[in-house]
Assembly symmetry: C2
């Protein structure tokens, strides 16, 4: 896992994913008390950065493996990213999703032509289900984060951050990344190590699901006690990955955590000040910038707005709060 | 008014406005029945492309003129674009806005430090009020569209469209532009004449406010009978401008019109499939692509999503429609 793999992925992704903008807004800066640059991956094809990892992984397979088909387990964003790449390549796709995933994500995955298999997040292991189905049908498993070509794809976000920030004269500072299993976080950290070494990546997690923050402190992989209980469905992974954790341990600053209430306020701020629809799990880095400014260094901060696949009912509820 | 002015404006805007992305989404393509590329100016600083024209105009003034201050009349997006540029330059700004403008736009303009003067859209002339105040206080009037440096600023959108579309292998086809007075439409048309001459710009207007479409047919400036009565507040101008009309007449294809109901459906589709908050007047070009496909040529179409400054109440109402 190295920068060359990320650069190679960027070549393969060219024209197939969107170069998302680095947004800024006087209204956001006023709340945060410093300049905030927002890498708007909610605008990515399929509504999240996962389209990058999905395309990277599919494009790295042999034609024979693609023809046999792929399988993925995902709370929804990886599902859509992989399903979209599979559809473009004409590869059969089976996606294992938690039964409590947002309807927008389940529907979106089916609309992209994938076969969706639902499982219970509290009592079943998606890894076991995935492994069994992969063996049974001869499918290639595309893991959501602990997979080199997926990390390489997510890392292309970091190449763009470095280039877009430099165009604004910014080459240092903290980069807050919404963190589940660590695919995006470790990929961006690797990209910035090469392209903007004065920047420091810091993972952001929901309170109660701070496995990465605790792992960074203890120096070994720590797990979450629970697997449900936050609206930030996109980042509720049990533990950092065997591949992603060593990268984060080597390169990342301390983790940050935000509450669900702060995530909701960040969703509202993104709609109001950026005209961006962000899902709660994709808004936690922005929430940290807006509401945990005393834990951040510097006169500017970069955050990822990682995904925007939120159910309309929840989005409307959040928009109507604190009017 | 020529391409060199647009290129010069692009230089002055560098780092001060956002290079907005050209978005695409399988869900949008499925509704439209062809590939749709969306130039997402709703993500621009201040929530619309007007930040470009505002910055272009302010940056072209002498330091003395900026110090004396500027005045603008606007339904809200030009107001914020000009107010933001004025604030950055430390120039006093007076903005004349219709009293029925969305609260989000009036509040946004005040938050940017401008003095807001309200007028009645049905009975008063904003041009007369603007001219009088400009004389009285020695302010420079920054007109919303019939002003060369404003057209040049909006035209930078066209330079980006040409470059971003070419990166996707697209150099021809129709470019649908949300059209009020024609500043964005004529600016993009001039930019594409130079950078992507096989593309054809077509103005899109709300039904009942198709002054530009009728003017293009008759060959002379036609006016609208009414000044209110559509939710597309951003594009309810009385007639094309003396500067913008000859450019549109020389370069544009036939106009398109969409209903308010179609604009609402396009707002909903943009939120659902692009994670983009778009206001009704900024959604009419997308509405034309989605619901008037039989009036469009080619296997792909480019549209502007020009602005996103919509009141939360209306946005929530639209999101809850047709669930």
């Amino acid at each position: 896992m190295n920068i060359d793999m990320i650069r190679a992925a960027a070549q393969r992704l060219q024209g197939h994913v969107i170069e998302t903008p680095l947004l800024f807004s006087p209204g956001i800066d006023a709340i945060a008390g410093r300049r905030v640059l927002i890498k708007a991956e909610a605008l990515q094809v399929t509504g999240s950065f996962k389209a990058r990892g999905g395309w990277s992984a599919l494009s790295a397979l042999t034609p024979e493996a693609r023809k046999a088909g792929i399988i993925a387990f995902s709370s929804g964003n990886h599902a859509q990213g992989v399903a979209r790449a599979a559809a473009a390549y004409g590869a059969p796709a089976v996606i294992i999703m938690p039964s409590d995933a947002p309807a927008a994500k389940i529907d979106g995955t089916r609309a992209l032509g994938a076969e969706v298999v639902l499982y219970d997040r509290g009592s079943e292991s998606r890894e076991q289900i995935g492994d069994a189905l992969a063996r049974e049908r001869g499918l290639t498993l595309i893991k959501p984060y602990d997979e080199p070509e997926v990390i390489a794809g997510q890392g292309t976000t970091g190449l763009e951050i470095a280039r877009q920030a430099a165009a604004l004269g910014i080459t240092d500072g903290e980069v807050l990344v919404c963190c589940g299993g660590g695919g995006l976080t470790s990929g961006i950290a690797l990209a910035l190590e090469a392209e903007a070494p004065a920047m420091t990546v810091r993972p952001v997690e929901p309170a109660g699901f701070d496995d990465v923050a605790r792992s960074l402190v203890s120096g070994r992989i720590e797990r979450n006690d629970q697997s449900t209980g936050s609206i930030c469905d996109a980042v509720l992974t049990p533990a950092p990955g065997d591949l992603t954790f060593p990268i984060m341990h080597r390169l990342c600053g301390p983790g940050l955590t935000v509450t669900d209430a702060e995530a909701r306020r960040a969703v509202r701020a993104a709609a109001r000040h950026l005209n961006l629809v962000v899902e709660p799990g994709g808004a936690i880095a922005l929430a940290a910038a807006l509401f945990h400014g005393d834990e951040i260094e510097g006169d500017h901060v970069i955050v990822t707005a990682s995904g925007g696949n939120i159910d309309t009912d929840m989005f409307v509820d959040i928009l109507k709060e604190e009017k």
